[in-house]
Protein backbone atom coordinates (compact mmCIF):
# COMPACT_ATOMS: atom_id res chain seq x y z
CA UNK A 1 0.00 0.00 0.00
CA UNK A 2 3.04 2.26 0.18
CA UNK A 3 3.28 2.34 -3.62
CA UNK A 4 4.81 5.49 -5.06
CA UNK A 5 5.60 6.63 -8.60
CA UNK A 6 8.16 9.21 -9.82
CA UNK A 7 6.66 12.13 -11.79
CA UNK A 8 7.85 15.58 -12.88
CA UNK A 9 6.31 18.84 -11.67
CA UNK A 10 5.18 20.91 -14.68
CA UNK A 11 2.91 23.49 -13.02
CA UNK A 12 2.48 24.86 -9.49
CA UNK A 13 -0.58 26.66 -8.11
CA UNK A 14 -0.29 27.31 -4.38
CA UNK A 15 -0.16 23.97 -2.55
CA UNK A 16 -1.09 21.98 -5.65
CA UNK A 17 0.96 20.96 -8.67
CA UNK A 18 0.41 19.27 -12.00
CA UNK A 19 2.83 16.37 -12.37
CA UNK A 20 3.61 14.43 -15.50
CA UNK A 21 5.20 11.15 -16.45
CA UNK A 22 5.01 9.17 -19.68
CA UNK A 23 2.24 11.45 -20.98
CA UNK A 24 0.11 10.98 -17.88
CA UNK A 25 -0.86 14.14 -15.96
CA UNK A 26 -2.22 14.37 -12.45
CA UNK A 27 -2.94 17.07 -9.93
CA UNK A 28 -1.20 16.40 -6.60
CA UNK A 29 -0.56 18.15 -3.31
CA UNK A 30 2.95 19.47 -2.69
CA UNK A 31 2.58 20.73 0.89
CA UNK A 32 4.47 17.69 2.21
CA UNK A 33 7.68 18.82 0.48
CA UNK A 34 9.88 21.78 1.31
CA UNK A 35 10.84 23.80 -1.79
CA UNK A 36 9.03 21.91 -4.54
CA UNK A 37 9.83 23.59 -7.86
CA UNK A 38 8.82 23.25 -11.50
CA UNK A 39 10.91 20.56 -13.25
CA UNK A 40 11.58 18.74 -9.96
CA UNK A 41 11.17 14.98 -10.09
CA UNK A 42 9.12 13.83 -7.11
CA UNK A 43 7.75 10.57 -5.79
CA UNK A 44 3.92 10.53 -5.69
CA UNK A 45 2.01 8.56 -3.05
CA UNK A 46 -1.75 8.81 -2.39
CA UNK A 47 -2.04 12.05 -4.34
CA UNK A 48 0.89 13.84 -2.69
CA UNK A 49 4.56 14.36 -3.47
CA UNK A 50 6.48 12.75 -0.60
CA UNK A 51 10.11 12.84 -1.70
CA UNK A 52 12.32 14.69 -4.16
CA UNK A 53 14.55 12.76 -6.56
CA UNK A 54 17.48 14.00 -8.56
CA UNK A 55 16.96 13.94 -12.34
CA UNK A 56 19.39 11.06 -12.65
CA UNK A 57 17.73 9.13 -9.83
CA UNK A 58 14.32 9.72 -11.37
CA UNK A 59 15.49 8.40 -14.74
CA UNK A 60 16.91 5.26 -13.16
CA UNK A 61 13.75 4.74 -11.15
CA UNK A 62 11.54 5.31 -14.19
CA UNK A 63 13.58 2.87 -16.26
CA UNK A 64 13.03 0.28 -13.56
CA UNK A 65 9.35 1.17 -13.49
CA UNK A 66 9.10 0.75 -17.26
CA UNK A 67 10.56 -2.75 -16.93
CA UNK A 68 7.69 -3.56 -14.61
CA UNK A 69 9.97 -4.26 -11.69
CA UNK A 70 9.27 -1.17 -9.67
CA UNK A 71 6.80 -1.93 -6.95
CA UNK A 72 7.54 0.62 -4.32
Amino acid sequence: MCLAVPMKIVEITGDMAVVESAGLRREVGIMLLANARINDWVLIHAGFAISKLSKKQARETLAIFAEGNFFG
Binding site: C2, M31, L32, A34, A46, G47, I50, F71
Partner: protein, 368 residues
Protein backbone atom coordinates in the same frame (compact mmCIF):
# COMPACT_ATOMS: atom_id res chain seq x y z
CA UNK B 1 23.16 -6.82 -21.14
CA UNK B 2 25.44 -5.45 -18.44
CA UNK B 3 22.57 -4.96 -16.00
CA UNK B 4 21.39 -8.55 -16.28
CA UNK B 5 24.92 -9.75 -15.71
CA UNK B 6 25.26 -7.71 -12.54
CA UNK B 7 21.88 -8.96 -11.32
CA UNK B 8 22.77 -12.60 -11.93
CA UNK B 9 26.11 -12.04 -10.20
CA UNK B 10 24.30 -10.60 -7.21
CA UNK B 11 21.91 -13.55 -7.21
CA UNK B 12 24.90 -15.89 -7.25
CA UNK B 13 26.53 -14.04 -4.37
CA UNK B 14 23.37 -14.34 -2.32
CA UNK B 15 22.93 -18.03 -3.07
CA UNK B 16 26.51 -18.78 -2.02
CA UNK B 17 26.66 -16.53 1.00
CA UNK B 18 27.93 -18.37 4.11
CA UNK B 19 24.93 -17.51 6.28
CA UNK B 20 24.88 -18.48 9.95
CA UNK B 21 22.42 -21.28 10.73
CA UNK B 22 18.90 -20.18 11.68
CA UNK B 23 19.32 -16.67 10.28
CA UNK B 24 15.87 -15.13 10.09
CA UNK B 25 15.36 -11.87 8.23
CA UNK B 26 12.00 -10.15 8.49
CA UNK B 27 10.80 -8.09 5.54
CA UNK B 28 8.60 -5.57 7.30
CA UNK B 29 6.83 -4.03 4.32
CA UNK B 30 4.04 -5.70 2.34
CA UNK B 31 5.31 -4.10 -0.87
CA UNK B 32 8.64 -5.87 -0.25
CA UNK B 33 6.82 -9.18 0.33
CA UNK B 34 5.26 -8.93 -3.13
CA UNK B 35 8.49 -7.75 -4.79
CA UNK B 36 10.48 -10.62 -3.23
CA UNK B 37 7.99 -13.32 -4.21
CA UNK B 38 7.40 -11.87 -7.67
CA UNK B 39 11.12 -11.90 -8.42
CA UNK B 40 11.56 -15.31 -6.72
CA UNK B 41 14.21 -13.98 -4.32
CA UNK B 42 13.08 -16.46 -1.64
CA UNK B 43 14.62 -19.19 -3.84
CA UNK B 44 17.99 -17.41 -3.88
CA UNK B 45 18.50 -17.48 -0.12
CA UNK B 46 21.57 -19.39 1.05
CA UNK B 47 21.26 -22.48 3.26
CA UNK B 48 20.48 -21.50 6.84
CA UNK B 49 18.78 -18.22 5.97
CA UNK B 50 15.06 -17.62 5.89
CA UNK B 51 12.79 -14.67 5.10
CA UNK B 52 9.60 -14.02 7.03
CA UNK B 53 6.94 -11.37 6.47
CA UNK B 54 6.25 -8.80 9.13
CA UNK B 55 3.38 -6.53 10.16
CA UNK B 56 3.83 -4.08 7.27
CA UNK B 57 0.65 -4.65 5.32
CA UNK B 58 -1.85 -2.04 6.54
CA UNK B 59 -4.89 -4.04 5.45
CA UNK B 60 -3.57 -7.13 7.26
CA UNK B 61 -2.90 -5.48 10.63
CA UNK B 62 -6.18 -3.54 10.77
CA UNK B 63 -8.44 -5.23 13.31
CA UNK B 64 -11.88 -6.61 12.37
CA UNK B 65 -13.45 -3.99 14.63
CA UNK B 66 -12.46 -1.25 12.17
CA UNK B 67 -14.21 -2.98 9.26
CA UNK B 68 -17.28 -3.37 11.48
CA UNK B 69 -17.21 0.38 12.16
CA UNK B 70 -16.90 1.16 8.45
CA UNK B 71 -19.82 -1.18 7.68
CA UNK B 72 -21.90 0.55 10.37
CA UNK B 73 -21.12 3.93 8.76
CA UNK B 74 -22.04 2.67 5.30
CA UNK B 75 -25.39 1.47 6.66
CA UNK B 76 -26.08 4.96 8.01
CA UNK B 77 -26.21 6.12 4.39
CA UNK B 78 -22.99 8.14 4.29
CA UNK B 79 -20.55 7.81 1.38
CA UNK B 80 -17.65 5.62 2.49
CA UNK B 81 -14.42 6.14 0.54
CA UNK B 82 -11.38 3.90 0.87
CA UNK B 83 -8.21 2.62 -0.74
CA UNK B 84 -9.43 -0.33 -2.82
CA UNK B 85 -7.64 -3.06 -0.85
CA UNK B 86 -9.88 -2.58 2.18
CA UNK B 87 -13.15 -3.32 0.40
CA UNK B 88 -12.84 -7.11 0.34
CA UNK B 89 -11.65 -7.53 3.92
CA UNK B 90 -14.27 -9.44 5.87
CA UNK B 91 -15.25 -7.84 9.17
CA UNK B 92 -16.95 -9.97 11.80
CA UNK B 93 -20.28 -9.88 9.96
CA UNK B 94 -19.84 -8.28 6.56
CA UNK B 95 -17.35 -6.62 4.23
CA UNK B 96 -17.57 -3.27 2.48
CA UNK B 97 -17.83 -5.09 -0.83
CA UNK B 98 -20.90 -6.97 0.42
CA UNK B 99 -22.40 -3.74 1.73
CA UNK B 100 -21.85 -2.10 -1.64
CA UNK B 101 -23.62 -4.98 -3.37
CA UNK B 102 -26.48 -4.46 -0.92
CA UNK B 103 -26.80 -0.83 -2.02
CA UNK B 104 -24.46 1.21 0.21
CA UNK B 105 -22.46 4.01 -1.42
CA UNK B 106 -18.87 2.78 -1.08
CA UNK B 107 -16.19 4.12 -3.41
CA UNK B 108 -12.57 3.11 -3.96
CA UNK B 109 -10.19 6.08 -4.29
CA UNK B 110 -6.44 6.53 -4.88
CA UNK B 111 -6.01 9.58 -2.67
CA UNK B 112 -7.75 11.24 0.27
CA UNK B 113 -7.97 14.24 -2.08
CA UNK B 114 -10.34 12.20 -4.28
CA UNK B 115 -12.50 11.63 -1.20
CA UNK B 116 -12.44 15.35 -0.46
CA UNK B 117 -13.53 16.05 -4.02
CA UNK B 118 -16.42 13.58 -3.69
CA UNK B 119 -17.50 15.39 -0.51
CA UNK B 120 -17.34 18.79 -2.25
CA UNK B 121 -19.15 17.58 -5.38
CA UNK B 122 -21.96 15.66 -3.70
CA UNK B 123 -22.56 17.76 -0.59
CA UNK B 124 -23.27 14.45 1.19
CA UNK B 125 -21.52 13.20 4.32
CA UNK B 126 -18.34 11.52 3.05
CA UNK B 127 -16.04 9.45 5.26
CA UNK B 128 -12.51 8.46 4.23
CA UNK B 129 -11.09 5.30 5.79
CA UNK B 130 -7.71 6.52 7.02
CA UNK B 131 -5.61 3.37 6.91
CA UNK B 132 -1.87 3.20 6.40
CA UNK B 133 1.55 3.88 7.88
CA UNK B 134 3.85 6.89 8.07
CA UNK B 135 4.01 7.08 4.25
CA UNK B 136 0.28 7.71 4.01
CA UNK B 137 -0.54 9.52 7.28
CA UNK B 138 0.93 12.90 6.20
CA UNK B 139 -1.20 12.82 3.01
CA UNK B 140 -4.30 12.19 5.11
CA UNK B 141 -3.31 14.95 7.54
CA UNK B 142 -2.87 17.35 4.61
CA UNK B 143 -6.27 16.40 3.16
CA UNK B 144 -7.83 17.01 6.59
CA UNK B 145 -6.24 20.45 6.73
CA UNK B 146 -7.59 21.25 3.27
CA UNK B 147 -11.08 20.18 4.35
CA UNK B 148 -10.92 22.62 7.27
CA UNK B 149 -9.43 25.43 5.18
CA UNK B 150 -12.00 25.04 2.41
CA UNK B 151 -14.77 24.53 4.96
CA UNK B 152 -15.86 21.23 3.45
CA UNK B 153 -17.88 20.37 6.53
CA UNK B 154 -19.31 17.08 5.22
CA UNK B 155 -15.88 15.36 5.11
CA UNK B 156 -14.59 13.19 7.93
CA UNK B 157 -12.03 10.48 8.72
CA UNK B 158 -12.40 7.05 10.28
CA UNK B 159 -8.84 6.50 11.47
CA UNK B 160 -6.79 3.33 11.89
CA UNK B 161 -3.35 4.74 11.05
CA UNK B 162 -0.38 2.83 12.44
CA UNK B 163 3.30 3.54 13.11
CA UNK B 164 6.02 1.08 12.11
CA UNK B 165 8.79 1.52 14.75
CA UNK B 166 6.55 0.75 17.77
CA UNK B 167 5.42 -2.50 16.09
CA UNK B 168 9.03 -3.54 15.48
CA UNK B 169 9.81 -2.75 19.12
CA UNK B 170 6.88 -4.91 20.21
CA UNK B 171 8.11 -7.77 18.01
CA UNK B 172 11.60 -7.83 19.49
CA UNK B 173 10.53 -7.22 23.08
CA UNK B 174 7.46 -9.43 23.50
CA UNK B 175 5.29 -8.56 26.50
CA UNK B 176 5.50 -10.76 29.59
CA UNK B 177 2.81 -13.42 29.64
CA UNK B 178 0.63 -13.76 26.59
CA UNK B 179 -0.63 -10.26 25.98
CA UNK B 180 -1.02 -10.81 22.26
CA UNK B 181 -4.60 -10.24 21.21
CA UNK B 182 -5.31 -13.40 19.31
CA UNK B 183 -5.33 -16.72 21.09
CA UNK B 184 -3.17 -18.48 18.56
CA UNK B 185 -0.63 -20.46 20.54
CA UNK B 186 2.93 -20.81 19.34
CA UNK B 187 3.52 -24.44 18.43
CA UNK B 188 5.85 -26.33 20.76
CA UNK B 189 9.49 -26.22 19.78
CA UNK B 190 8.97 -23.06 17.75
CA UNK B 191 10.69 -20.78 20.22
CA UNK B 192 14.17 -20.90 18.69
CA UNK B 193 12.65 -20.06 15.34
CA UNK B 194 10.99 -16.89 16.54
CA UNK B 195 14.19 -14.94 17.01
CA UNK B 196 14.69 -12.33 14.30
CA UNK B 197 18.26 -11.74 13.08
CA UNK B 198 17.63 -8.47 11.24
CA UNK B 199 15.10 -6.33 9.42
CA UNK B 200 14.67 -5.42 5.77
CA UNK B 201 13.22 -1.98 6.48
CA UNK B 202 10.45 -0.32 4.43
CA UNK B 203 11.50 2.13 1.71
CA UNK B 204 8.72 4.68 1.61
CA UNK B 205 7.89 4.69 5.31
CA UNK B 206 11.59 5.48 5.78
CA UNK B 207 11.39 8.30 3.21
CA UNK B 208 9.22 10.05 5.81
CA UNK B 209 10.65 8.90 9.18
CA UNK B 210 14.34 8.61 8.17
CA UNK B 211 17.08 6.33 9.36
CA UNK B 212 17.24 7.66 12.91
CA UNK B 213 13.75 6.34 13.68
CA UNK B 214 15.22 2.82 13.88
CA UNK B 215 18.03 3.66 16.34
CA UNK B 216 16.45 1.34 18.93
CA UNK B 217 17.33 -1.71 16.80
CA UNK B 218 21.04 -1.10 17.37
CA UNK B 219 20.42 -1.19 21.12
CA UNK B 220 18.73 -4.57 20.68
CA UNK B 221 21.78 -5.76 18.73
CA UNK B 222 19.86 -6.08 15.48
CA UNK B 223 20.89 -4.79 12.06
CA UNK B 224 18.44 -3.11 9.69
CA UNK B 225 18.72 -2.11 6.03
CA UNK B 226 16.35 0.39 4.39
CA UNK B 227 15.66 -1.01 0.94
CA UNK B 228 14.15 -0.05 -2.38
CA UNK B 229 11.89 -2.39 -4.32
CA UNK B 230 13.85 -3.69 -7.30
CA UNK B 231 15.40 -7.15 -7.25
CA UNK B 232 18.82 -5.51 -7.18
CA UNK B 233 17.84 -3.29 -4.23
CA UNK B 234 16.48 -6.23 -2.26
CA UNK B 235 19.34 -8.64 -2.98
CA UNK B 236 22.02 -6.09 -2.03
CA UNK B 237 20.05 -5.21 1.12
CA UNK B 238 19.86 -8.90 2.07
CA UNK B 239 23.60 -9.32 1.47
CA UNK B 240 24.28 -6.36 3.79
CA UNK B 241 21.98 -7.83 6.43
CA UNK B 242 23.51 -11.31 6.26
CA UNK B 243 26.98 -9.88 6.48
CA UNK B 244 26.17 -7.65 9.45
CA UNK B 245 24.51 -10.60 11.19
CA UNK B 246 27.57 -12.80 10.59
CA UNK B 247 29.99 -10.17 11.86
CA UNK B 248 27.89 -9.01 14.79
CA UNK B 249 27.52 -5.48 13.43
CA UNK B 250 24.31 -3.78 14.51
CA UNK B 251 23.80 -0.76 12.31
CA UNK B 252 20.98 0.80 10.34
CA UNK B 253 22.00 1.20 6.71
CA UNK B 254 20.24 3.28 4.08
CA UNK B 255 20.40 1.22 0.87
CA UNK B 256 17.74 3.36 -0.87
CA UNK B 257 19.44 6.79 -0.96
CA UNK B 258 17.88 7.69 -4.32
CA UNK B 259 14.61 8.18 -2.43
CA UNK B 260 15.34 8.10 1.31
CA UNK B 261 17.23 10.96 2.98
CA UNK B 262 18.86 9.85 6.23
CA UNK B 263 16.82 12.41 8.16
CA UNK B 264 13.60 11.55 6.28
CA UNK B 265 11.11 14.20 5.21
CA UNK B 266 10.77 16.73 8.04
CA UNK B 267 7.97 18.66 6.36
CA UNK B 268 5.85 15.50 6.11
CA UNK B 269 6.47 14.73 9.77
CA UNK B 270 5.50 18.29 10.76
CA UNK B 271 2.19 18.08 8.86
CA UNK B 272 1.51 14.65 10.37
CA UNK B 273 2.24 15.87 13.91
CA UNK B 274 0.04 18.94 13.49
CA UNK B 275 -3.05 16.82 12.82
CA UNK B 276 -2.31 13.60 14.70
CA UNK B 277 -0.99 12.50 18.09
CA UNK B 278 0.27 9.00 18.97
CA UNK B 279 -2.18 6.73 20.75
CA UNK B 280 -2.14 3.10 21.94
CA UNK B 281 -3.52 0.94 19.15
CA UNK B 282 -4.63 -2.59 18.46
CA UNK B 283 -2.81 -4.64 15.79
CA UNK B 284 -4.02 -7.92 14.44
CA UNK B 285 -1.67 -10.56 15.80
CA UNK B 286 0.34 -8.18 17.95
CA UNK B 287 -2.33 -6.96 20.35
CA UNK B 288 -2.32 -3.46 21.77
CA UNK B 289 0.97 -1.60 21.29
CA UNK B 290 1.71 1.63 23.18
CA UNK B 291 1.79 4.80 21.04
CA UNK B 292 1.60 2.81 17.80
CA UNK B 293 -1.48 4.47 16.29
CA UNK B 294 -2.54 8.01 15.46
CA UNK B 295 -5.55 9.94 16.69
CA UNK B 296 -6.76 13.35 15.55
CA UNK B 297 -5.63 16.20 17.79
CA UNK B 298 -8.35 18.34 19.45
CA UNK B 299 -8.09 21.05 16.76
CA UNK B 300 -8.98 18.38 14.17
CA UNK B 301 -11.54 16.45 16.25
CA UNK B 302 -14.33 17.91 14.11
CA UNK B 303 -13.06 15.58 11.34
CA UNK B 304 -13.43 12.48 13.53
CA UNK B 305 -16.13 10.22 12.04
CA UNK B 306 -16.44 8.30 15.33
CA UNK B 307 -17.52 11.50 17.09
CA UNK B 308 -19.64 12.82 14.27
CA UNK B 309 -21.73 9.68 13.84
CA UNK B 310 -21.46 8.21 17.34
CA UNK B 311 -21.17 4.70 15.93
CA UNK B 312 -20.95 1.91 18.44
CA UNK B 313 -19.87 -1.53 17.37
CA UNK B 314 -19.64 -4.65 19.53
CA UNK B 315 -16.22 -6.18 20.11
CA UNK B 316 -15.42 -8.51 17.22
CA UNK B 317 -15.19 -12.22 18.10
CA UNK B 318 -11.84 -13.92 17.39
CA UNK B 319 -11.52 -15.09 13.81
CA UNK B 320 -11.86 -18.88 13.97
CA UNK B 321 -9.12 -20.91 12.34
CA UNK B 322 -7.30 -17.98 10.70
CA UNK B 323 -3.62 -17.75 11.66
CA UNK B 324 -2.98 -14.37 10.05
CA UNK B 325 -1.82 -13.10 13.45
CA UNK B 326 1.01 -15.67 13.61
CA UNK B 327 1.96 -14.96 10.00
CA UNK B 328 2.23 -11.23 10.80
CA UNK B 329 4.59 -11.96 13.70
CA UNK B 330 6.79 -14.12 11.50
CA UNK B 331 5.98 -17.12 13.72
CA UNK B 332 4.67 -19.35 10.95
CA UNK B 333 4.83 -19.45 7.17
CA UNK B 334 1.41 -19.21 5.50
CA UNK B 335 1.23 -22.94 4.51
CA UNK B 336 1.30 -23.83 8.24
CA UNK B 337 -2.25 -22.45 8.49
CA UNK B 338 -4.75 -25.28 7.99
CA UNK B 339 -6.96 -23.04 5.84
CA UNK B 340 -4.13 -21.86 3.57
CA UNK B 341 -5.10 -22.23 -0.10
CA UNK B 342 -7.89 -24.61 0.90
CA UNK B 343 -10.80 -22.88 2.67
CA UNK B 344 -8.98 -19.55 2.30
CA UNK B 345 -7.87 -18.60 -1.21
CA UNK B 346 -7.25 -15.35 -3.07
CA UNK B 347 -10.56 -15.68 -4.95
CA UNK B 348 -12.53 -16.24 -1.74
CA UNK B 349 -10.34 -15.10 1.13
CA UNK B 350 -11.26 -15.65 4.76
CA UNK B 351 -8.37 -13.82 6.39
CA UNK B 352 -6.87 -10.40 5.72
CA UNK B 353 -3.41 -11.80 4.82
CA UNK B 354 -5.12 -13.52 1.87
CA UNK B 355 -7.32 -10.53 0.95
CA UNK B 356 -4.64 -7.93 0.46
CA UNK B 357 -2.50 -8.31 -2.64
CA UNK B 358 0.37 -7.38 -0.30
CA UNK B 359 -0.61 -9.94 2.29
CA UNK B 360 1.89 -12.71 2.89
CA UNK B 361 -0.65 -15.50 2.29
CA UNK B 362 -1.82 -14.00 -1.01
CA UNK B 363 1.78 -13.47 -2.18
CA UNK B 364 2.63 -17.13 -1.34
CA UNK B 365 -0.28 -18.41 -3.41
CA UNK B 366 0.22 -15.99 -6.30
CA UNK B 367 3.98 -16.30 -6.71
CA UNK B 368 4.83 -19.51 -4.85
Amino acid sequence: MAEKTSLSLLAERLRNFPARPRTKIMEVCGTHTVAIRRAGIQHLLPAGAKLVSGPGCPVCVTPDHFIDEAVALARLGVIVTSFGDMLRVPGSRSSLEQERAAGSDIRAVYSPLDALQIAAATGRETVFLAVGFETTAPAIAAAGMMALEKKIANFSLLTALRLVPPALKALITPPQGDAAAEPTAVPQGDAADTEISGFLLPGHVSAVIGKQAYGFLEKHRLPGVISGFTAEDIITSLLHLLEMHNKGIYKIMNNYPRVVRDHGNERSRTVLAEAFAPVDAEWRGLGSIPASGLQLRPAFAVLDARRRFAIEVEAAPPRAGCRCGDVLRGRIDPPACPMFNKACRPDRPLGPCMVSSEGSCCAWVTYG
